[in-house]
Symmetry: C2
Subunit: 296 residues, 2 copies
Protein backbone atom coordinates (compact mmCIF):
# COMPACT_ATOMS: atom_id res chain seq x y z
CA UNK A 1 0.00 0.00 0.00
CA UNK A 2 1.29 3.38 -0.99
CA UNK A 3 2.55 5.81 1.60
CA UNK A 4 0.49 8.94 1.70
CA UNK A 5 2.25 11.39 3.92
CA UNK A 6 0.46 14.33 5.50
CA UNK A 7 2.22 16.89 7.65
CA UNK A 8 -0.23 18.62 9.92
CA UNK A 9 0.02 21.35 12.53
CA UNK A 10 -2.09 21.84 15.65
CA UNK A 11 -2.18 25.39 17.04
CA UNK A 12 -2.52 25.23 20.84
CA UNK A 13 -3.17 28.79 22.01
CA UNK A 14 -4.10 30.86 25.04
CA UNK A 15 -6.57 33.72 24.78
CA UNK A 16 -4.87 37.05 23.85
CA UNK A 17 -7.71 39.21 25.15
CA UNK A 18 -9.34 40.34 21.90
CA UNK A 19 -10.34 39.01 18.51
CA UNK A 20 -7.74 40.92 16.50
CA UNK A 21 -4.87 39.67 18.66
CA UNK A 22 -6.16 36.10 18.58
CA UNK A 23 -6.50 36.12 14.81
CA UNK A 24 -3.02 37.62 14.48
CA UNK A 25 -1.80 34.77 16.66
CA UNK A 26 -3.56 32.25 14.41
CA UNK A 27 -2.07 33.82 11.31
CA UNK A 28 1.46 33.79 12.74
CA UNK A 29 1.08 30.11 13.63
CA UNK A 30 -0.32 29.22 10.22
CA UNK A 31 2.58 30.99 8.51
CA UNK A 32 5.05 29.16 10.76
CA UNK A 33 3.32 25.87 9.95
CA UNK A 34 3.66 26.60 6.25
CA UNK A 35 7.37 27.24 6.62
CA UNK A 36 7.64 23.87 8.36
CA UNK A 37 6.03 22.15 5.40
CA UNK A 38 2.55 21.57 6.77
CA UNK A 39 -0.33 21.12 4.37
CA UNK A 40 -3.05 21.04 7.04
CA UNK A 41 -3.51 23.32 10.05
CA UNK A 42 -6.00 22.60 12.84
CA UNK A 43 -6.96 25.52 15.10
CA UNK A 44 -8.49 25.11 18.57
CA UNK A 45 -12.18 25.50 19.41
CA UNK A 46 -13.46 29.11 19.30
CA UNK A 47 -9.96 30.42 18.65
CA UNK A 48 -11.09 34.01 18.07
CA UNK A 49 -11.87 34.73 21.69
CA UNK A 50 -12.00 33.52 25.25
CA UNK A 51 -14.02 30.44 26.05
CA UNK A 52 -17.06 32.62 26.71
CA UNK A 53 -19.44 29.87 27.83
CA UNK A 54 -18.41 30.10 31.49
CA UNK A 55 -21.49 32.30 32.05
CA UNK A 56 -24.87 32.76 30.37
CA UNK A 57 -24.93 36.33 29.05
CA UNK A 58 -27.23 37.28 26.14
CA UNK A 59 -24.94 40.14 25.10
CA UNK A 60 -22.24 37.61 24.18
CA UNK A 61 -24.23 36.59 21.11
CA UNK A 62 -22.77 39.79 19.62
CA UNK A 63 -19.51 37.84 19.23
CA UNK A 64 -21.08 35.50 16.70
CA UNK A 65 -20.43 35.99 12.99
CA UNK A 66 -21.81 34.72 9.74
CA UNK A 67 -20.25 31.95 7.64
CA UNK A 68 -18.89 32.95 5.22
CA UNK A 69 -17.87 36.11 7.06
CA UNK A 70 -14.87 38.11 8.20
CA UNK A 71 -12.96 35.22 9.77
CA UNK A 72 -13.51 32.76 6.94
CA UNK A 73 -12.39 35.52 4.54
CA UNK A 74 -9.16 35.99 6.42
CA UNK A 75 -8.49 32.26 6.76
CA UNK A 76 -9.41 31.79 3.12
CA UNK A 77 -6.82 34.37 2.00
CA UNK A 78 -4.17 32.64 4.09
CA UNK A 79 -5.09 29.20 2.80
CA UNK A 80 -4.91 30.39 -0.80
CA UNK A 81 -1.65 32.29 -0.30
CA UNK A 82 0.09 29.42 1.51
CA UNK A 83 -1.68 26.63 -0.40
CA UNK A 84 -2.67 24.67 2.67
CA UNK A 85 -5.89 23.51 4.29
CA UNK A 86 -7.10 25.28 7.45
CA UNK A 87 -9.68 23.97 9.91
CA UNK A 88 -11.08 26.80 12.01
CA UNK A 89 -13.73 26.95 14.74
CA UNK A 90 -16.27 29.76 14.96
CA UNK A 91 -19.31 31.01 16.86
CA UNK A 92 -21.73 31.01 13.93
CA UNK A 93 -24.62 33.44 13.59
CA UNK A 94 -26.99 31.63 11.23
CA UNK A 95 -30.09 33.78 11.77
CA UNK A 96 -31.33 36.16 14.45
CA UNK A 97 -31.56 33.98 17.56
CA UNK A 98 -30.01 30.93 15.88
CA UNK A 99 -26.36 30.24 16.63
CA UNK A 100 -24.04 27.25 16.29
CA UNK A 101 -20.58 26.08 17.30
CA UNK A 102 -19.21 25.49 13.82
CA UNK A 103 -15.99 24.26 12.30
CA UNK A 104 -14.99 25.69 8.93
CA UNK A 105 -12.70 24.01 6.42
CA UNK A 106 -10.80 26.27 4.01
CA UNK A 107 -9.30 24.35 1.15
CA UNK A 108 -5.82 24.95 -0.26
CA UNK A 109 -7.31 27.12 -3.04
CA UNK A 110 -9.04 29.33 -0.51
CA UNK A 111 -12.53 27.98 -1.10
CA UNK A 112 -14.83 27.07 1.77
CA UNK A 113 -14.73 23.30 1.34
CA UNK A 114 -17.34 22.64 4.00
CA UNK A 115 -18.53 23.20 7.54
CA UNK A 116 -19.43 20.99 10.49
CA UNK A 117 -21.88 22.11 13.15
CA UNK A 118 -21.16 20.61 16.59
CA UNK A 119 -23.69 17.85 17.11
CA UNK A 120 -23.21 17.06 20.81
CA UNK A 121 -23.60 20.12 23.03
CA UNK A 122 -22.37 19.99 26.63
CA UNK A 123 -23.84 21.77 29.60
CA UNK A 124 -22.28 21.55 33.01
CA UNK A 125 -21.00 24.11 35.51
CA UNK A 126 -18.66 26.46 33.62
CA UNK A 127 -19.54 25.02 30.20
CA UNK A 128 -23.01 26.45 29.52
CA UNK A 129 -23.04 25.63 25.83
CA UNK A 130 -26.68 24.64 25.58
CA UNK A 131 -27.51 28.30 26.13
CA UNK A 132 -25.39 29.50 23.22
CA UNK A 133 -25.32 26.73 20.63
CA UNK A 134 -28.15 25.10 18.76
CA UNK A 135 -27.26 21.43 18.20
CA UNK A 136 -25.90 20.82 14.72
CA UNK A 137 -28.29 19.77 11.97
CA UNK A 138 -25.81 18.69 9.31
CA UNK A 139 -25.06 15.24 10.67
CA UNK A 140 -21.66 13.57 10.52
CA UNK A 141 -20.28 14.38 7.09
CA UNK A 142 -16.57 14.58 6.42
CA UNK A 143 -15.23 17.35 4.21
CA UNK A 144 -13.27 16.67 1.03
CA UNK A 145 -10.13 18.76 0.63
CA UNK A 146 -6.86 18.81 -1.27
CA UNK A 147 -5.21 16.77 1.51
CA UNK A 148 -7.96 14.21 1.95
CA UNK A 149 -11.38 13.64 3.44
CA UNK A 150 -11.42 15.23 6.89
CA UNK A 151 -13.67 13.98 9.69
CA UNK A 152 -14.02 17.22 11.64
CA UNK A 153 -15.77 16.97 15.01
CA UNK A 154 -15.75 19.43 17.92
CA UNK A 155 -14.81 19.02 21.58
CA UNK A 156 -17.75 17.36 23.40
CA UNK A 157 -18.20 15.13 20.33
CA UNK A 158 -14.95 13.51 21.40
CA UNK A 159 -16.74 11.57 24.17
CA UNK A 160 -19.10 9.87 21.72
CA UNK A 161 -17.81 6.82 19.83
CA UNK A 162 -20.89 7.14 17.61
CA UNK A 163 -19.58 10.38 16.11
CA UNK A 164 -16.16 9.00 15.26
CA UNK A 165 -17.66 5.82 13.83
CA UNK A 166 -20.13 7.74 11.69
CA UNK A 167 -17.31 9.81 10.22
CA UNK A 168 -15.28 6.66 9.52
CA UNK A 169 -18.22 4.99 7.81
CA UNK A 170 -18.53 8.07 5.62
CA UNK A 171 -14.94 7.64 4.47
CA UNK A 172 -13.06 10.08 6.70
CA UNK A 173 -9.29 9.61 6.43
CA UNK A 174 -8.44 11.44 9.65
CA UNK A 175 -10.43 12.62 12.67
CA UNK A 176 -9.87 16.21 13.85
CA UNK A 177 -11.10 17.65 17.15
CA UNK A 178 -10.84 21.39 17.88
CA UNK A 179 -11.28 21.47 21.66
CA UNK A 180 -11.59 23.75 24.70
CA UNK A 181 -11.48 21.65 27.82
CA UNK A 182 -9.82 22.29 31.11
CA UNK A 183 -9.66 21.69 34.80
CA UNK A 184 -11.82 23.12 37.51
CA UNK A 185 -9.07 24.49 39.80
CA UNK A 186 -11.14 23.36 42.79
CA UNK A 187 -10.88 19.68 41.83
CA UNK A 188 -8.19 17.51 43.37
CA UNK A 189 -5.04 16.77 41.42
CA UNK A 190 -6.15 13.13 41.22
CA UNK A 191 -9.51 14.06 39.68
CA UNK A 192 -7.79 16.46 37.27
CA UNK A 193 -5.42 13.75 36.11
CA UNK A 194 -8.25 11.23 35.69
CA UNK A 195 -10.06 13.73 33.48
CA UNK A 196 -7.04 14.53 31.31
CA UNK A 197 -6.19 10.85 30.93
CA UNK A 198 -9.79 10.03 30.04
CA UNK A 199 -9.82 12.78 27.41
CA UNK A 200 -6.66 11.45 25.80
CA UNK A 201 -7.68 7.78 26.15
CA UNK A 202 -11.09 8.03 24.53
CA UNK A 203 -9.76 9.94 21.52
CA UNK A 204 -6.95 7.44 21.06
CA UNK A 205 -9.68 4.78 21.21
CA UNK A 206 -11.52 6.45 18.32
CA UNK A 207 -8.31 6.04 16.33
CA UNK A 208 -8.11 2.37 17.30
CA UNK A 209 -11.78 1.51 16.72
CA UNK A 210 -11.71 3.05 13.26
CA UNK A 211 -8.12 2.58 12.15
CA UNK A 212 -7.73 6.32 11.61
CA UNK A 213 -5.21 8.93 12.74
CA UNK A 214 -6.57 11.54 15.15
CA UNK A 215 -5.60 15.15 15.83
CA UNK A 216 -6.95 16.88 18.95
CA UNK A 217 -6.14 20.59 19.32
CA UNK A 218 -6.94 22.01 22.74
CA UNK A 219 -6.86 25.47 24.30
CA UNK A 220 -4.33 26.19 27.07
CA UNK A 221 -4.08 28.66 29.94
CA UNK A 222 -6.25 30.02 32.73
CA UNK A 223 -9.45 31.97 31.99
CA UNK A 224 -11.41 33.55 34.84
CA UNK A 225 -15.17 33.14 35.22
CA UNK A 226 -16.54 36.67 34.52
CA UNK A 227 -19.45 35.99 36.87
CA UNK A 228 -17.17 35.01 39.72
CA UNK A 229 -19.37 32.03 40.47
CA UNK A 230 -16.72 29.40 39.80
CA UNK A 231 -12.94 29.45 40.09
CA UNK A 232 -12.62 29.65 36.30
CA UNK A 233 -11.06 27.13 33.99
CA UNK A 234 -7.48 26.04 33.50
CA UNK A 235 -7.45 24.68 29.97
CA UNK A 236 -5.18 21.68 29.89
CA UNK A 237 -3.63 21.91 26.43
CA UNK A 238 -2.03 18.49 25.81
CA UNK A 239 -2.97 18.65 22.14
CA UNK A 240 -1.85 15.51 20.38
CA UNK A 241 -1.70 13.54 17.17
CA UNK A 242 -1.95 9.76 17.22
CA UNK A 243 -1.79 7.10 14.55
CA UNK A 244 -4.42 4.51 13.58
CA UNK A 245 -3.50 2.15 16.41
CA UNK A 246 -3.86 4.99 18.91
CA UNK A 247 -0.11 5.42 19.24
CA UNK A 248 0.90 8.96 20.20
CA UNK A 249 2.99 10.61 17.48
CA UNK A 250 3.35 14.08 19.02
CA UNK A 251 1.93 15.84 22.06
CA UNK A 252 2.10 19.32 23.57
CA UNK A 253 2.33 19.97 27.29
CA UNK A 254 -0.47 21.27 29.54
CA UNK A 255 1.06 24.68 30.30
CA UNK A 256 2.04 26.61 27.21
CA UNK A 257 1.05 27.59 23.68
CA UNK A 258 2.53 25.31 21.08
CA UNK A 259 2.67 24.81 17.34
CA UNK A 260 2.62 21.03 17.28
CA UNK A 261 3.77 19.54 13.97
CA UNK A 262 3.37 15.87 13.15
CA UNK A 263 3.60 13.67 10.09
CA UNK A 264 1.02 10.98 9.57
CA UNK A 265 0.87 8.32 6.86
CA UNK A 266 -2.72 8.11 5.66
CA UNK A 267 -1.78 4.88 3.86
CA UNK A 268 -1.32 3.08 7.19
CA UNK A 269 -5.09 2.98 7.70
CA UNK A 270 -5.53 0.23 5.16
CA UNK A 271 -2.59 -1.75 6.56
CA UNK A 272 -4.01 -1.56 10.09
CA UNK A 273 -7.55 -2.38 9.00
CA UNK A 274 -6.30 -5.52 7.21
CA UNK A 275 -4.88 -6.82 10.48
CA UNK A 276 -7.75 -5.54 12.64
CA UNK A 277 -10.72 -5.65 10.27
CA UNK A 278 -13.33 -4.19 12.60
CA UNK A 279 -15.36 -2.72 9.77
CA UNK A 280 -15.75 -6.25 8.36
CA UNK A 281 -17.17 -7.65 11.58
CA UNK A 282 -19.58 -4.97 12.80
CA UNK A 283 -22.95 -6.58 13.70
CA UNK A 284 -25.14 -4.09 11.86
CA UNK A 285 -28.06 -6.49 12.31
CA UNK A 286 -27.84 -6.05 16.09
CA UNK A 287 -27.16 -2.35 16.69
CA UNK A 288 -30.75 -1.15 16.74
CA UNK A 289 -30.56 -0.08 20.37
CA UNK A 290 -27.95 2.56 19.50
CA UNK A 291 -30.76 4.70 18.16
CA UNK A 292 -32.60 4.52 21.46
CA UNK A 293 -32.17 6.68 24.55
CA UNK A 294 -32.24 3.71 26.94
CA UNK A 295 -33.78 0.26 27.25
CA UNK A 296 -36.29 0.39 30.08
Amino acid sequence: MARSSLTLALVQQSDQGNTAANLDDCEAAIRAASIRGCSLVLLQELHNGPYFCQTEDPSLFDMAESIPGPTTERLSSLARELELVIVGSLFERRAPGLYHNTAVVLDADGSLAGIYRKMHIPDDPGYYEKFYFTPGDLGFNPVDTAVGRLGVLICWDQWFPEAARSMALAGAQILLYPSAIGWNPDDTTEEQQRQLQAWETIQRAHAIANGLPVGACNRVGYEADPSGVTSGARFWGSSFVCGPQGEIIAQADDQSPKLLVAEVDLGRTEQVRRVWPFLRDRRIDAYGDLNQRYRD
Copy 2:
Protein backbone atom coordinates in the same frame (compact mmCIF):
# COMPACT_ATOMS: atom_id res chain seq x y z
CA MET B 1 -25.08 8.46 46.32
CA ALA B 2 -24.59 5.27 48.27
CA ARG B 3 -21.39 3.32 47.98
CA SER B 4 -21.97 -0.08 46.51
CA SER B 5 -18.77 -1.99 46.86
CA LEU B 6 -17.99 -5.04 44.77
CA THR B 7 -14.84 -7.10 45.18
CA LEU B 8 -14.07 -9.00 42.04
CA ALA B 9 -11.36 -11.40 40.96
CA LEU B 10 -9.92 -11.98 37.50
CA VAL B 11 -8.25 -15.34 36.92
CA GLN B 12 -5.38 -14.91 34.46
CA GLN B 13 -4.19 -18.43 33.54
CA SER B 14 -1.91 -20.33 31.23
CA ASP B 15 -3.03 -23.59 29.63
CA GLN B 16 -2.28 -26.64 31.84
CA GLY B 17 -2.46 -29.13 28.96
CA ASN B 18 -5.81 -30.80 29.61
CA THR B 19 -9.34 -29.94 30.63
CA ALA B 20 -9.22 -31.56 34.06
CA ALA B 21 -6.07 -29.67 35.03
CA ASN B 22 -7.44 -26.37 33.72
CA LEU B 23 -10.69 -26.78 35.62
CA ASP B 24 -8.77 -27.71 38.78
CA ASP B 25 -6.80 -24.53 38.28
CA CYS B 26 -10.02 -22.54 37.90
CA GLU B 27 -11.45 -24.10 41.05
CA ALA B 28 -8.33 -23.36 43.09
CA ALA B 29 -8.42 -19.74 41.94
CA ILE B 30 -12.13 -19.38 42.69
CA ARG B 31 -11.60 -20.78 46.20
CA ALA B 32 -8.71 -18.39 46.74
CA ALA B 33 -10.88 -15.51 45.53
CA SER B 34 -13.58 -16.49 47.99
CA ILE B 35 -11.10 -16.50 50.86
CA ARG B 36 -10.08 -12.97 49.79
CA GLY B 37 -13.68 -11.81 50.02
CA CYS B 38 -14.60 -11.70 46.35
CA SER B 39 -18.25 -11.96 45.36
CA LEU B 40 -17.61 -12.09 41.60
CA VAL B 41 -15.02 -14.13 39.69
CA LEU B 42 -14.26 -13.60 35.99
CA LEU B 43 -12.47 -16.41 34.17
CA GLN B 44 -10.58 -15.98 30.90
CA GLU B 45 -11.89 -16.89 27.45
CA LEU B 46 -12.09 -20.66 26.79
CA HIS B 47 -10.44 -21.43 30.12
CA ASN B 48 -10.96 -25.20 29.84
CA GLY B 49 -8.35 -25.71 27.17
CA PRO B 50 -5.71 -24.24 24.93
CA TYR B 51 -6.69 -21.46 22.55
CA PHE B 52 -7.50 -24.06 19.88
CA CYS B 53 -8.37 -21.65 17.06
CA GLN B 54 -4.78 -21.41 15.81
CA THR B 55 -5.67 -24.02 13.19
CA GLU B 56 -8.86 -25.19 11.46
CA ASP B 57 -9.36 -28.83 12.48
CA PRO B 58 -12.84 -30.38 12.35
CA SER B 59 -11.94 -32.91 15.07
CA LEU B 60 -11.61 -30.06 17.57
CA PHE B 61 -15.38 -29.63 17.63
CA ASP B 62 -15.26 -32.66 19.96
CA MET B 63 -14.07 -30.25 22.66
CA ALA B 64 -17.41 -28.42 22.62
CA GLU B 65 -19.96 -29.13 25.34
CA SER B 66 -23.60 -28.39 25.98
CA ILE B 67 -24.87 -25.58 28.21
CA PRO B 68 -25.91 -26.57 30.81
CA GLY B 69 -23.35 -29.34 30.85
CA PRO B 70 -20.41 -30.70 32.80
CA THR B 71 -18.54 -27.40 33.19
CA THR B 72 -21.56 -25.33 34.18
CA GLU B 73 -22.44 -28.07 36.69
CA ARG B 74 -19.03 -27.85 38.28
CA LEU B 75 -18.99 -24.04 38.31
CA SER B 76 -22.55 -24.04 39.63
CA SER B 77 -21.59 -26.24 42.59
CA LEU B 78 -18.70 -23.93 43.39
CA ALA B 79 -20.83 -20.79 43.08
CA ARG B 80 -23.46 -22.24 45.41
CA GLU B 81 -20.94 -23.54 47.94
CA LEU B 82 -18.96 -20.28 48.06
CA GLU B 83 -21.95 -17.99 47.48
CA LEU B 84 -20.33 -15.98 44.75
CA VAL B 85 -21.01 -15.21 41.09
CA ILE B 86 -18.82 -16.87 38.44
CA VAL B 87 -18.47 -15.80 34.80
CA GLY B 88 -17.07 -18.64 32.71
CA SER B 89 -16.31 -18.96 29.00
CA LEU B 90 -17.08 -22.14 27.04
CA PHE B 91 -17.02 -23.71 23.60
CA GLU B 92 -20.75 -24.36 23.31
CA ARG B 93 -22.25 -27.26 21.37
CA ARG B 94 -25.77 -26.08 20.65
CA ALA B 95 -26.73 -28.63 18.00
CA PRO B 96 -24.85 -30.95 15.65
CA GLY B 97 -22.79 -28.60 13.49
CA LEU B 98 -23.80 -25.48 15.46
CA TYR B 99 -21.27 -24.13 17.92
CA HIS B 100 -20.75 -20.84 19.75
CA ASN B 101 -18.18 -19.04 21.88
CA THR B 102 -20.36 -18.53 24.93
CA ALA B 103 -20.01 -16.92 28.34
CA VAL B 104 -21.96 -18.46 31.20
CA VAL B 105 -22.98 -16.65 34.36
CA LEU B 106 -23.51 -18.76 37.49
CA ASP B 107 -25.32 -16.88 40.19
CA ALA B 108 -24.43 -17.00 43.89
CA ASP B 109 -27.15 -19.62 44.47
CA GLY B 110 -25.69 -21.87 41.79
CA SER B 111 -28.35 -21.17 39.18
CA LEU B 112 -27.45 -20.41 35.59
CA ALA B 113 -28.36 -16.71 35.58
CA GLY B 114 -27.77 -16.28 31.87
CA ILE B 115 -25.48 -16.72 28.92
CA TYR B 116 -23.94 -14.43 26.29
CA ARG B 117 -22.95 -15.71 22.87
CA LYS B 118 -20.01 -13.83 21.35
CA MET B 119 -21.44 -11.47 18.75
CA HIS B 120 -18.28 -10.30 16.94
CA ILE B 121 -16.20 -13.18 15.62
CA PRO B 122 -12.60 -12.54 14.53
CA ASP B 123 -10.72 -14.28 11.78
CA ASP B 124 -7.12 -13.52 11.08
CA PRO B 125 -3.95 -15.61 10.89
CA GLY B 126 -3.79 -17.69 14.07
CA TYR B 127 -7.29 -16.73 15.20
CA TYR B 128 -9.55 -18.75 12.90
CA GLU B 129 -12.69 -18.27 14.95
CA LYS B 130 -15.10 -17.91 12.05
CA PHE B 131 -14.50 -21.62 11.35
CA TYR B 132 -15.50 -22.68 14.86
CA PHE B 133 -18.01 -20.17 16.17
CA THR B 134 -21.40 -19.18 14.79
CA PRO B 135 -21.96 -15.49 15.54
CA GLY B 136 -24.14 -14.97 18.62
CA ASP B 137 -27.88 -14.57 18.14
CA LEU B 138 -28.84 -13.33 21.59
CA GLY B 139 -27.88 -9.70 21.12
CA PHE B 140 -26.38 -7.49 23.83
CA ASN B 141 -28.28 -8.38 26.98
CA PRO B 142 -26.71 -8.01 30.41
CA VAL B 143 -27.31 -10.71 33.01
CA ASP B 144 -28.91 -9.99 36.38
CA THR B 145 -27.12 -11.56 39.34
CA ALA B 146 -26.85 -11.23 43.10
CA VAL B 147 -24.01 -8.72 42.66
CA GLY B 148 -25.61 -6.60 39.94
CA ARG B 149 -26.39 -6.49 36.26
CA LEU B 150 -23.34 -7.77 34.38
CA GLY B 151 -22.53 -6.67 30.84
CA VAL B 152 -20.60 -9.72 29.69
CA LEU B 153 -18.88 -9.48 26.31
CA ILE B 154 -16.09 -11.64 24.88
CA CYS B 155 -12.64 -10.77 23.51
CA TRP B 156 -13.08 -9.46 19.92
CA ASP B 157 -16.21 -7.63 21.13
CA GLN B 158 -13.78 -5.39 23.01
CA TRP B 159 -12.86 -3.55 19.81
CA PHE B 160 -16.45 -2.47 19.14
CA PRO B 161 -17.77 0.57 21.02
CA GLU B 162 -21.24 -0.44 19.82
CA ALA B 163 -21.20 -3.55 22.01
CA ALA B 164 -20.22 -1.69 25.17
CA ARG B 165 -22.74 1.06 24.51
CA SER B 166 -25.55 -1.42 23.89
CA MET B 167 -24.82 -3.12 27.21
CA ALA B 168 -24.77 0.25 28.98
CA LEU B 169 -28.09 1.26 27.44
CA ALA B 170 -29.53 -2.02 28.70
CA GLY B 171 -28.54 -1.10 32.24
CA ALA B 172 -25.27 -2.99 32.70
CA GLN B 173 -23.46 -1.92 35.89
CA ILE B 174 -20.07 -3.30 34.88
CA LEU B 175 -18.52 -4.54 31.62
CA LEU B 176 -16.65 -7.85 31.71
CA TYR B 177 -14.42 -9.20 28.94
CA PRO B 178 -13.05 -12.76 29.05
CA SER B 179 -10.22 -12.60 26.53
CA ALA B 180 -7.55 -14.61 24.72
CA ILE B 181 -5.29 -12.27 22.84
CA GLY B 182 -1.58 -12.33 22.35
CA TRP B 183 1.41 -11.41 20.31
CA ASN B 184 2.65 -12.93 17.12
CA PRO B 185 6.28 -13.63 18.15
CA ASP B 186 7.37 -12.60 14.65
CA ASP B 187 6.14 -9.02 15.11
CA THR B 188 8.53 -6.31 16.21
CA THR B 189 8.56 -5.23 19.85
CA GLU B 190 7.19 -1.85 18.74
CA GLU B 191 4.22 -3.46 16.99
CA GLN B 192 3.61 -5.74 19.96
CA GLN B 193 3.54 -2.79 22.32
CA ARG B 194 1.19 -0.82 20.06
CA GLN B 195 -1.19 -3.76 20.06
CA LEU B 196 -1.13 -4.24 23.83
CA GLN B 197 -1.58 -0.51 24.44
CA ALA B 198 -4.45 -0.39 21.95
CA TRP B 199 -6.16 -3.31 23.67
CA GLU B 200 -5.92 -1.61 27.04
CA THR B 201 -6.81 1.84 25.70
CA ILE B 202 -9.99 0.90 23.89
CA GLN B 203 -11.40 -1.03 26.84
CA ARG B 204 -10.62 1.86 29.19
CA ALA B 205 -12.44 4.03 26.66
CA HIS B 206 -15.56 1.85 26.96
CA ALA B 207 -15.46 2.59 30.68
CA ILE B 208 -15.16 6.32 29.96
CA ALA B 209 -17.81 6.51 27.25
CA ASN B 210 -20.32 4.72 29.43
CA GLY B 211 -19.32 5.67 32.95
CA LEU B 212 -18.92 2.02 33.89
CA PRO B 213 -16.16 -0.05 35.51
CA VAL B 214 -14.53 -2.62 33.25
CA GLY B 215 -12.84 -5.94 33.95
CA ALA B 216 -10.78 -7.61 31.21
CA CYS B 217 -9.40 -11.07 31.98
CA ASN B 218 -6.84 -12.34 29.48
CA ARG B 219 -4.94 -15.57 28.95
CA VAL B 220 -1.16 -15.62 29.48
CA GLY B 221 1.73 -17.77 28.25
CA TYR B 222 3.00 -19.21 24.99
CA GLU B 223 0.95 -21.72 22.98
CA ALA B 224 2.43 -23.33 19.88
CA ASP B 225 0.57 -23.53 16.58
CA PRO B 226 -0.17 -27.27 16.17
CA SER B 227 -0.01 -26.88 12.39
CA GLY B 228 3.43 -25.31 12.53
CA VAL B 229 2.33 -22.66 10.05
CA THR B 230 2.82 -19.69 12.37
CA SER B 231 5.17 -19.10 15.27
CA GLY B 232 2.30 -19.58 17.71
CA ALA B 233 0.86 -17.05 20.12
CA ARG B 234 2.30 -15.45 23.21
CA PHE B 235 -0.79 -14.41 25.15
CA TRP B 236 -0.10 -11.08 26.79
CA GLY B 237 -2.01 -11.35 30.05
CA SER B 238 -2.18 -7.76 31.40
CA SER B 239 -5.67 -8.41 32.76
CA PHE B 240 -7.01 -5.29 34.43
CA VAL B 241 -9.85 -3.61 36.22
CA CYS B 242 -10.57 0.07 35.66
CA GLY B 243 -13.09 2.49 37.11
CA PRO B 244 -15.77 4.51 35.30
CA GLN B 245 -13.33 7.22 34.22
CA GLY B 246 -11.03 4.59 32.72
CA GLU B 247 -8.61 4.80 35.65
CA ILE B 248 -6.68 1.59 36.22
CA ILE B 249 -7.46 0.07 39.62
CA ALA B 250 -5.44 -3.14 39.31
CA GLN B 251 -3.46 -4.85 36.56
CA ALA B 252 -1.57 -8.11 36.13
CA ASP B 253 1.71 -8.39 34.24
CA ASP B 254 2.19 -9.92 30.78
CA GLN B 255 4.24 -12.95 31.88
CA SER B 256 2.60 -14.97 34.62
CA PRO B 257 -0.68 -16.41 35.91
CA LYS B 258 -2.36 -14.14 38.43
CA LEU B 259 -5.39 -13.96 40.66
CA LEU B 260 -6.11 -10.24 40.32
CA VAL B 261 -8.40 -8.88 43.02
CA ALA B 262 -9.90 -5.40 42.87
CA GLU B 263 -12.61 -3.48 44.62
CA VAL B 264 -14.93 -1.30 42.58
CA ASP B 265 -17.66 1.04 43.79
CA LEU B 266 -20.67 0.55 41.54
CA GLY B 267 -22.14 3.74 43.06
CA ARG B 268 -19.49 5.86 41.38
CA THR B 269 -21.17 5.39 38.00
CA GLU B 270 -23.96 7.78 38.88
CA GLN B 271 -21.49 10.35 40.29
CA VAL B 272 -19.39 10.23 37.14
CA ARG B 273 -22.39 10.36 34.82
CA ARG B 274 -23.66 13.50 36.58
CA VAL B 275 -20.42 15.31 35.75
CA TRP B 276 -20.03 13.76 32.29
CA PRO B 277 -23.64 13.17 31.21
CA PHE B 278 -22.97 11.51 27.88
CA LEU B 279 -26.16 9.46 27.98
CA ARG B 280 -28.10 12.76 28.17
CA ASP B 281 -26.49 14.18 25.04
CA ARG B 282 -26.41 11.26 22.61
CA ARG B 283 -27.83 12.34 19.21
CA ILE B 284 -30.15 9.39 18.72
CA ASP B 285 -31.80 11.30 15.87
CA ALA B 286 -28.52 11.23 13.92
CA TYR B 287 -27.04 7.77 14.44
CA GLY B 288 -28.82 5.99 11.59
CA ASP B 289 -25.58 5.29 9.75
CA LEU B 290 -24.40 3.05 12.59
CA ASN B 291 -26.71 0.36 11.28
CA GLN B 292 -25.09 0.54 7.85
CA ARG B 293 -21.96 -1.25 6.63
CA TYR B 294 -20.55 1.85 4.92
CA ARG B 295 -21.72 5.01 3.20
CA ASP B 296 -20.81 4.70 -0.46
